[in-house]
Symmetry: C2
Subunit: 161 residues, 2 copies
């Protein structure tokens, strides 16, 4: 089973599945750029498919700053929402909270930190690539096992190897 073989298998898999929510979510995230008016916590939560609890959590660990309205309620302006979209996207792709904190501290420091941020992104990209490769192998292994079961439905020769 050559590596290229695995690749094509993985690709085929990707084509087969029409990601029920993931794709949709990302698309939704992309479209938020149009957001203008400040939003309430529940609106943002609904938009990003997360709980208000989590939004408050993100704020308290310093990932995002959020203004308050007259009565002390959070008011998410476009910038905050955009940042949360970015955060969500990165979290979805498996970036660790501590890395996001790091990244955001840099972002808050200004444009001088762009190169450093770029480094973080490049590193993250490599991480994703590694994950992709591992998952592809896992897929192959799982499909092999499935074939073992599906191939001959007789008694298993060796009790779960």
């Amino acid at each position: 089973m050559a590596t290229d073989d695995l690749m094509s298998k993985a690709l085929a898999a990707l084509d087969e599945v029409d990601g029920p929510m993931s794709v949709e979510v990302i698309h939704r995230l992309v479209d938020v750029s149009a957001a203008t008016a400040p939003m309430t916590i529940t609106e943002v939560a609904d938009l990003l498919d997360m709980s208000p609890h989590t939004l408050r959590y993100y704020e308290r660990i310093g990932l995002v700053e959020v203004a308050r309205d007259a009565s002390g309620h959070r008011s998410y302006d476009a910038k905050a929402v955009r940042r949360l979209v970015f955060l969500t996207r990165m979290r979805l792709s498996g970036m660790a909270m501590r890395d996001l904190q790091h990244y955001m501290r840099l972002a808050d420091k200004g444009d001088d930190t762009v190169p450093e941020r770029l480094d973080l992104l490049l590193e993250h990209r490599d991480t994703i690539r590694r994950q992709l490769k591992e998952l592809t192998l896992s897929l192959a292994a799982t499909e092999y096992k499935i074939a073992t079961y599906g191939g001959h439905t007789g008694p298993s020769s060796d009790e779960e190897a």
Copy 2:
């Protein structure tokens, strides 16, 4: 950016990275089939790149049964090692402990449970496929962001969106 475009990008990524350890680990796992003599806990731990602590943990949550030698030390026979290889592979591919427990309970019940186990595997395969798709999108998003930074190194137009 069409989906096929993303696909090819992901594929290219897969080709670029030569997984420093993941591939190697899997290969090693595959080759263990030759194992014959009972092994000590540290030998198995070294083989599978995990700690003795973790091996004991796997045993105590019922994933695997391990015999003891005369002085009460664990003695991993070929069957146990094979099972651990399988477990490791599945864990690496992200199967949850509770699912593995379920699967192993079934395996211990005998061949009647093969269809049910097959279902679990099929489900897991779909999970991996979904993850692959999500990661591919994440990769695209990250590369887009990188391009944003790499493209023009001037002041960021909108402070981390």
